[in-house]
């Protein structure tokens, strides 16, 4: 556990252009932002079966030395065990707040993204099904996407989101963005001068929402209403992603399929 960070650390996600979905892209970008903020180099490798390679079934996951860790929470702890941490300077109450806000983002933004991708019929037909199974031949592509859709819908039903309409989900997103905007205020990062894992997580989700083209622009409009949040995303993009043209998915997000941040 006391080994230094190796040069060939790799982050695995699904194929950027054809396959990856909104929620997975957001999670992946959050982890990439976090690692950039810690100054730990990592290569982004895109594989069609990234979801199946992952130990928890969720992307992204990182392969460091001979260990494989997936999802932002465990990755933050793993990186901390190696001696790098962004939240050491916070006191106990601030750490509690940071954890609470991270849960808010997971609870509302991530769930809303999943809802939009898998429970909104129009989006499912036109975007999700074609993208999710694209690396596989028929009929495997349809089977895999239906299976995943069934899984996600079961989860939505268990937590009570199945009964919500799209308008209600967008309202929740608006409430969440309002809360984040209030908390950020005029500061550069959520805990003033230094970025933390909360900033990485919020950046991952908001940037992806702002730069992904969906059926309608309603979701990104909700975020655009809050100018300090868009400025926050722009600032992090400029600071942590500008110099890395090759592998950053933030740069790739500016390619043809997605609408621009500016």
């Amino acid at each position: 556990a006391a080994e230094p960070w190796p040069e060939n650390a790799a982050l695995y996600q699904q194929l950027k252009e054809e396959q990856i979905l909104l929620s997975d892209n957001a999670s992946s970008l959050a982890v990439q932002a976090f690692l950039q903020m810690c100054n730990l180099p990592v290569r982004v490798i895109c594989r069609a079966n990234a979801e199946y390679m992952s130990p928890s079934g969720k992307v992204p996951f990182i392969h460091v030395g001979n260990q494989v860790v997936s999802e932002l929470g465990p990755i933050v702890q793993f990186v901390k065990a190696k001696g790098h941490s962004l939240s050491d300077g916070l006191d106990e109450v601030q750490k509690a707040e940071m954890k609470a806000y991270m849960e808010l983002v997971n609870n509302m933004l991530l769930t809303a993204e999943l809802y939009l991708q898998w429970c909104d019929d129009v989006t499912v037909e036109e975007i999700t099904h074609p993208r999710y199974g694209s690396p596989y031949p028929w009929p495997l592509n349809r089977i895999l996407s239906y299976q995943k859709q069934w899984e996600v819908r079961r989860k939505m039903k268990a937590i009570g989101w199945a009964g919500k309409t799209l308008e209600q989900v967008l309202e929740d997103v608006d409430q969440c963005c309002h809360a984040l905007s209030q908390r950020l205020g005029t500061q550069p990062y959520f805990f003033n001068k230094q970025p933390t894992e909360l900033d990485a997580l919020v950046f991952g989700h908001l940037f992806t929402i702002l730069t992904t083209q969906l059926i309608t622009d309603e979701l990104s409009e909700k975020v655009k209403n809050y100018s300090n949040l868009t400025a926050f995303c722009r600032r992090i993009e400029q600071q942590y992603f500008e110099g890395h043209e090759k592998d950053s998915s933030a740069t790739a997000a500016r390619s043809s399929k997605r609408s621009l941040l500016r």
């Binding site: 969720k58 750490k95 509690a96 609470a100 849960e103 808010l104 997971n106 609870n107 309002h178 209030q182």
Partner: protein
């Protein structure tokens, strides 16, 4: 403010007005904001509970989830949050999300899935409050829903067995309790001297863990090591639920009670200073008997013993 609104919810026991966390949250919020609610607890009658409780019926509208009920009350001008800043409102949302993600699974597990607890306490209690044929079916259904929810949200790989999931959710819950305790610190409520929505939610989740006597109580033991959270629950019970703490069913409440509660709120606000001075005296009867031995100590000694019990 015209016709009183009716709230249907699960009843209470062990000194609580309700055993159900969501019902408790709504009742606490109504007390904090002074909303006149007529509370109907579900008892052994043929008016079977339809769907999820708590349910608020106001003239023609029927509203069912706690968040929606609270929104409705706020629109009716019963707002416990009007003194909060926007940032505190944002914090409220974040902490409620934390409670739902980290504490609720363990709460559901303690009530509905832990075999000893379920069979000896939860199932008989709920079954006794529901009319006959439904009482055979409904508790089982609630238990299955709780298990489903936990497995779907927390049970993905690499946690393959229920015991590993259980270990993880209790770890999360204990961490959540620690975070809440640190956030509350020494103040009376989460945002100063007046209780708000966040206090209602925290009370709704913590009070059942704190008061209900289960055979398997690891969460309750952890909670008892955090004296400021215990004091928080006790304060709310004595200040806001005084009329029902003796175990009477709250079905007899009417608007006169609401006025009394408002008066109590004002008196509480003004007597805060006196209460702070009387803090030592007030705290002692509410703690478990083992602390009585420290009653005779000087104020300094009394302060240090709760602190040393705070788990890291």
């Amino acid at each position: 403010m015209a016709a009183p609104m009716e709230l249907s919810c699960w009843g209470g026991d062990w000194g609580l007005p309700s055993l159900h966390p969501e019902s408790l949250t709504v009742m606490a919020y109504a007390k904090f904001s002074g909303a006149p609610l007529r509370v109907n607890t579900i008892n052994n009658s043929w008016r079977a509970p339809k769907g999820d409780l708590p349910v608020l019926v106001s003239e023609d509208t029927v509203i069912s989830q706690p968040a929606k009920i609270l929104n409705f009350l706020r629109k009716q001008k019963y707002n416990a949050d009007y003194e909060l800043s926007a940032k505190q409102g944002a914090d409220t949302l974040a902490y409620v999300a934390l409670l739902e993600e980290k504490l609720l699974p363990a709460l559901l597990h303690t009530f509905w899935i832990e075999a000893e607890n379920y069979c000896s306490v939860t199932k008989p209690w709920f079954a006794s409050r529901i009319a006959f044929p439904l009482s055979l079916y409904l508790p089982g259904k609630m238990s299955r829903e709780a298990l489903n929810r936990i497995l779907l949200t927390k049970g993905g790989p690499p946690l393959y067995s229920l015991t590993e999931v259980e270990a993880q959710i209790y770890r999360d819950a204990k961490e959540c309790l620690n975070l809440l305790s640190k956030r509350l610190g020494t103040s009376q409520f989460f945002f100063g001297d007046m209780p708000t929505t966040l206090d209602a939610f925290v009370f709704g989740f913590l009070a059942p863990i704190y008061k209900v006597c289960f055979p398997r109580v690891q969460l309750q033991e952890h909670l008892k090591q955090l004296p400021n959270l215990c004091r928080f629950c006790d304060d709310i019970l004595t200040c806001y639920f005084r009329l029902t703490v003796s175990g009477h069913s709250p079905a007899g409440q009417d608007t006169a009670d609401a006025n009394l509660q408002k008066l109590t709120q004002l008196v509480n606000k003004e007597s805060n200073l006196i209460e702070k001075m009387d803090d030592n005296l007030r705290r002692s009867p509410q703690h478990p008997p083992r602390k009585l031995t420290t009653l005779k100590l000087a104020a300094g000694g009394e302060e240090s013993s709760p602190m040393s019990r705070l788990s890291p």
